[in-house]
Each structure stands twice: as C-alpha cells, then as structure tokens.
Amino acid sequence: MPDSPSPRLPEPDRPWMMRTYAGHSDARRSNELYRRNLEKGQTGLSIAFDLPTQTGYDPDHELAKGEVGKVGVSIAHEGDMATLLDQIPLDQMNTSMTINATAAWLLALYVVAAERQGVDEKELQGTTQNDILKEYLSRGTYAFPPGPSMRLIADTIAYTVEHIPKWNPINICSYHLQEAGATPVQEIAFTMSNAIAVLDAVKHRLGGRESDLMGSVFGRISFFVNAGVRFIEEHAKLRAMSVLWDELGRERYGVEDEKHRRLRYGVQVNSLGLTEAQPENNVYRIALEALAVTLGRSARARAIQLPAWNEALGLPRPWDQQWSLRLQQILAYETDLLEYPDVFEGSKVMEGLVSELLDGAREEMHRVAELGGAVEAVDYMKAALVESHRKRWQRIESGDLVVVGMNRFTSTEPSPLTAGSDGGILVVDPEVEAEQRAAVQRWRADRDQAAVDETLGQLAAIARDDEENIMPATIAAARAGATTGEWAQTLREVFGEYRAPTGVGEAVAAPTQELAELREEVERLSEALGRRLKFMVGKPGLDGHSNGAEQIAVRARDAGMDVVYEGIRLTPAQIANSAAQEGVHIVGLSILSGSHRELIPAVMDAMREAGVGDVPVVVGGIIPDADAESLRQAGIAAVYTPKDWNLNAMMRDIIVLVAERHGVETPVGA
C-alpha cells in the first residue's frame, strides 16, 4: 500500500513574534516592566506612548495636563528614550512603536538611543505605526493637516528603505477602523485605499529611482489588523486582504518579487467587543480572536499582542498582561497549531466567504477612488464608519447582536477578580506628571541651547521645502537634545494645525418606537423650556477615542436635541466657554484615557468661572467605581461606564436631569 502524503509540515513553523502593548508613567518604570516581560518569554517590544508624546506636546504643556504617563510612557527627549531602552540590546530587539503624528521624531530618538549603545541604524529592527489616515478616522492623535502628514510618512519610508532596511516604516492599521465600527468590507477597503494613498505619495518621493526601490518599499509595508470574535469571518477577511495586496503589488506598482507582495501583518485582537460586565468572559473572547489570526497558515499573523481581560475597566497590571502572554504561549507551544500547512485550503466555505468579502471590498475601494483617493475621502469614510457603528449599537440595544453578560445572560455572581483593593486595574502614580514636568524643565536648562536652536532652525527650513526629506534634520535635532514638544511645534508653525471631521453630520436614524417616544419627550421639554433642548458633548484632554462621544451625539440628535459637538482635544476653558456662549442646558463629557480625576474637576471649575456652574454635567468613560463615587460627590450628575450600553436610557436620564433642573415635570416612566 502506497504511503499517503503526510498532512503535516516537515518541520513545525516558528512561532510568531509575541509582544505586549506596554508602557506607563516614565521611562525608568517602563524599562523595568519591559525587562520583566522579556524574562517571561516575550520576544519583542511594543511601546505604548502617552498622549502628549503621541500628539507632540511636552509634559509641561497646558494640553498635557492630566495625561502625562497615563495611557503609555512619557518620552520627551533622547535621554528618556535611552533610559527606556536601557540594557535592552537594540541590535537584537524587534521593537514596535505605536506612534503616528510624531513617528518621524520617535524613530529619530530610537536611532540616537541606538547610537548611544554603539549600534548602527542599519541593524535596527522594528515598526513605527506611522498611519495618519486612521488617526483622522478613528484614533485622533493627529497633529498636522493631511498633506504635510502624508509627506512625513513618505519621508520616513524613503529614509528607512535606504538607511534602516530592516525597519517597517509604516503599519497600516485596519485595527482602529474596526474599533470605530467598520464592517469587514469597510475595514478591508478603507485599509487598502489608505495603503494606495501612502504608496502613491512615496512613489512621488523616490524621484526617478522608483523602478529600483518600489519593490523594497512595497515589501516593507506592513499592516496592523484587528480580529473580532466572529473568528471564521475574521480569518476570511485576512485571506481577502492577502489577495488584494498581492494584486495591488502586481498590477498597480509592478512589483515582481512574490516575496515583496506577501501580506505581512501584526495584530492586536479586538478590544471593542470586550465588556466591563463580567470581565472574566473577555479571556474566552481573546482566545477565540487569537485563533482568527493564527488558524490558517497562509494568512497567519507575524506578530501578535493580546489585550488583557480588564481593558474595559482601566489600565492592565503586569500580572494581567502576563496572563495574556501565556495565552499566546499555550497556543504556540502546547497546541498542534504550527504543525500543519494551511488547514482551510480547499474549504468551500472559506473560499465563498473570501470571494464575498473581495466583491464588497473592491466595490467600496472603487467608491473611495472615485472621490479622489483615501486622503480626499476622509469625510466620506468617517461618516460611513459612524453610520456602521450606529447600526451595530442599535443591534446590541435591540438584542439582535448578543453580547454575553451584557445584553443577555446578565445574572452573575460577584467577580473575585475585581474584589482586590486596586479594583483589578493599574493606577498611575499621580506624582508622575509633576516629576516629568520638572524633569523636562531640568533637561532644557542643562543642554546646549545654541545647538538646539540651530537644529530646529534647520528643521523649519527643511519642512518648508517639500523636496527635502525631514529625517536627517529630525535626527540632528534629536541628537542635539530638542524635545518632543519643540520638534512638533516647529512643524506646527510651518504646516499649520488641523481638526479632523467628526463624521456626525448626516444620517438620521429610522425612528424606532423607543426613539419616537424620546422625541416626544424632548419636544415637550423643549416647549416648556422655550428653546430646543441643547446638549453639549465635550471631549476634554488629548484622548482621541471619539467613537463613544460620536454615538452619543448622533443619538441625542436623533432624539430631537440640538447637539453641540466640537470634536476632540478641548481644554477645560474651551468647553466651559462653549457651554456658556451656546447656552446649553446640559453638558456630557467623555474621557477614556484615565485622566478624568484631573480633567473633570478642571472643567467644573472653568464652568463656574464662566458663569455656568449650574448647568448639569454628566460623564462617560472608562471610570473605576471608586472614582465614579468621588466624581458624583464633586457634583457630577451621572457617571456612565461601558456597562451602560443602552443609549436610549442615557437620553432619558438627560431629559430628566434638565427637566429637574428647570422645574419641569416629566411624564411617568421617564
């Protein structure tokens, strides 16, 4: 009897790169954390920066207040970067940096830190996220307008292809699009359209050498994707992306080497679907989502970082992150996952799913192209995402989309995981901000100011000349000791600033019975007030995660309110001033970065100063119970957390609050 061919690979595959998205407070504390994580078997670094670093402000800037060291580590200059990477050999490490608007700057700091270790830039391996379009669409840490931002991206790509050849200069993100509500089709189409915009911009900057370099540029572009809990379809999505990427390389950019056309992606699985209710269930969700990106060999992730079970509650502790890392290790080392060729090959179901997604994605890409490409189509894409998210939320509210523990199977025993004195999350030492503020001022006082001024002057000149590459001048400024805020401010002065579209303009919801009732109540109250109920939704601080605020704004509008929504990144003074000038009846604040303890009282003070201290304020965000209590004591009328997923209930609260404040009776049941 002839031997049937073995269904196994001759040799099991090597595991993917295992990382944990980590960093908080300052460089020293984060360095300790990284070294502990590496000891536990993590194979690469993934640096989380705080919001001031991501948006280009020093720790002592007004907008940095309350945000320093919160969602990541504060890095203000090359000294911080050297401390962060202390005793981590950069010629061997593979480092991923979640950094976008200021990517060129943080890459320069990394290059200088390597110099200090005696490592040449040619040796460096890693990734800068460097994807600005999704910042406009979802994540919100942009700094400059689209044109100059695309130039910075193209410059870093053109520079690294020649000087840091093992670096992935851009990680085009579909991750945040899914978080913003994208359907799989939108996620694929918008990401590929984004990639086209980037490649076209780089092509232009290669000036005549594109036939030599386009292949290696194409080969250096990687993706950062998301995987939701519908893990079969999610896997199909990745296969579809592989097909499109290969096609794009061949047809649009003439890339001949097949290796250059292979889709390379890293992944952070979904945190959109993680719940605050019964948070232990998130562990199962994360495990299934990890399967989506590992199951089929032909579309398997190159690098994976998994969220922690408690991300809907607050910042994960080192132990929480260790638990996530162990999941990756079990998958790679205990299971037989890596022993087989592609397990979906020949599957009719998989093929069908892929071709369905491809059809939808091609159509959507065509629409974006017709609008003039991804940069021009930001408004369209943003509005489409807000609309998809709205529909998703309605399905959760109606129960059509089941989220276990949240809208179904909700009865629960108390969770021992959150019973500890820390509430099951990491709290950043509030002293960090003051320390960092003092430290950056000492840094500025101790350096050679003339050298800094000269290099920043050079940087401004280069920035004004569109034909020059920004990287050499940026590295020189980093070496001279310039700060993150100074680099960004120099470019802000040349490039100008920008506010991204909010996407909340157009679509009006089809009225459900519940919505119709709300409208009636709003109408009644407005008549009693004399003016239409006016509601301001504000996002104080640097946190750009606006998906929640947008959904609140849209629902309030659909319920018949006049809604003032000014987008992200507002100072307390701006919010108070708008509340006063607009004559709003109620203010809603959204904060997800953990800076609510500093920012909410600051907004309340500013509102009192602006003469609108009597306007009720409600707050939504990732807010631990203990903080919620102290916010209520400070006069906040209501606190909402991810547990409060029913937006109509929230609207009803708002109506009741305003009615009470103005002595208007509300109907029974409101």
Binding site: P145, F495, R519, E523, E527, R531, A573, S578, Q581
Partner: protein, 324 residues
Amino acid sequence: MTERTRAGGRELGARLRERDLSAAPAALNLIESRATGARQEAVALLGEVSPAALGTEPPGHIIGVTGPPGVGKSSLLSRLVAEWRRRERSVAVLAVDPSSRRSGGSLLGDRARIEADPRDREVFIRSTAAGDRLGGLAPATRAAAQALAAAFDVVVIETVGVGQSETEVADAADTVAVVLQPASGDVLQFLKAGIMEVPDVLVLTKADLGGVARHARADLEAALLALGAGSTTLCAVSSVPVASGIAELVDALDAHRAGLDLPARRLRARRRHALDEFVAEHGERGLRALGGRLAAQRWLEQQDQGLDVPALERALDARAQEQS
C-alpha cells in the same frame, strides 16, 4: 416655566447697549425662546437696542458670510476673527447650521471649526440650527444680529448654501460676502444666469492653489464685468499658513460699509424682517388681508422709520385686523 436663570429683557438690552459683552449668552437664550413670557421679555430687550433707544443705528457691522459647503468658510472665519481682533474689534459669530431637522434635533458642529482663544472675552460664537422654516435663517438669527450689533463691533452671520441663502442673508446684513473656491463652476453659472444676486464682496478661497486659483479669479472677474457689477470687490485669500489676502478682505468689507447708506439698508432689513415674521405667523391668509405682499411692503414704507421689528409686527397685525 422658562429658563431658570433668566435675567430681565430690559436689563439685558441695557447691558448690551452699554457694550457689556457678557450679556450676550443670556440675551440669545431669551431671543431664541418661544415661551410666551420670554417673547415679551425679548421684545423689551430689542426695544432697548432699537434705533429709537440708541438715537442711532446699532453701531456694529453686520456681515453675512455665505457659500457652498467645503469652500473653507470656517478656516476663512478663523483668520478673519484673528484679523479683527488684531484691529481690536470685538466679534460675534452667529453660525447657522444647515443640517436638516428630520428628527427635530440637529448637530451643530460649526463652531468647532472656527478657531478662537477661549479666554478672549471679546469673541462670541453661537450656533443655531437653520430651523423649520424652509431655506431660511433661524427665526431668531436676525433679531440676534440686531441685538448684538449694539454691543459688538462686528457681527457675522454665517450660512451655508448658494442661490437662496445669500438673499436671506442680504435682508439681515449690511454687507454680504459670498465665499467660493476655485473650480466652483456652478456658482459662476448661477451668477451669470441671475439665479444668484451679485454679492457685495466675492471671496475666492484657496489662493495658494496657484494656476487653478488665478484661472478662477480671471473667470470671476470676467463674469462680474459682463454683469456690470463693477462695485463688487473680488478678494483672493488663503487660509493655510502662510495666510494671505485676509487684511485686504477686511479692508474691502470696511470699504463697503463706509460707502453704504446704513440707515436705509437697516430700515429695509427691519421692514422685510417684520413682514417675514408676520407671514410666518399668519400665512398667506394674513398676507391677503394686507392686500398682498407688494401692498404690504408699500404700506410699511410709509411707517415711522424709528420703529423696531416687534413694533412693525404689531402694526402689521393691527392693519390686518382692520382690513379683514
């Protein structure tokens, strides 16, 4: 039950007359209110800032800024506000949002796009929904502009659209600026076809676009010439760094105002406003009682020039009663 913190209309009007800018938010709350009590207070407020009470027209320059979506009105306004502030003028902006009111509610996003220092007490921005009235200014916007013109040096009414909105704005503003961007071919057609009234000032944005912008400018100049609209100033501006043409635009707006018979324009505005309010209240039937729109206009022209809008409305009411 109206707004709890309401100050009296008379007091707010007096504060505006004394150029107390901090009275603006409460004044607008009152003017926008439709509650019966508030309506009376608003009439009292407007009385305090009427030409009769002031002994002159409210001194502020009311400027309508209008144009199609996406031409860069908000960026332009950011630059204009900065320039006016540089010239030490106080500025109020009434941003009229075009969003539809299918749900009754609306999203007012426009103030987000106008940059101003929140600590600067001499800049006031207020957004309102375009309202239920078809294609029109929010009913309270015209009254608000008149009231604010007593206190602020510059009052901007910003609207979106082309073809109709600038006519509405022309009834409420001293000077109308229509904002266009290069390659707004349809606007050129509107102008030529006479669908759109020729504005006082035509602003061409995105002058940084080089050849395209120069081409657009030449087209517009030719069109204006052909229409015999020699008095319309054409300004090319750029709002991106380095901004250009902004000071020239402010000069052009000033020049239009200087050459204007202000009392006549304001008087016409008040009379049209009163008639519009009357029609909104009483409809076609009311208009017939006045013998039709033309007859009503002619009758209004014979009334005392010092009457403010509420007084004119009352007079129209009485006349309609008499006639029917």
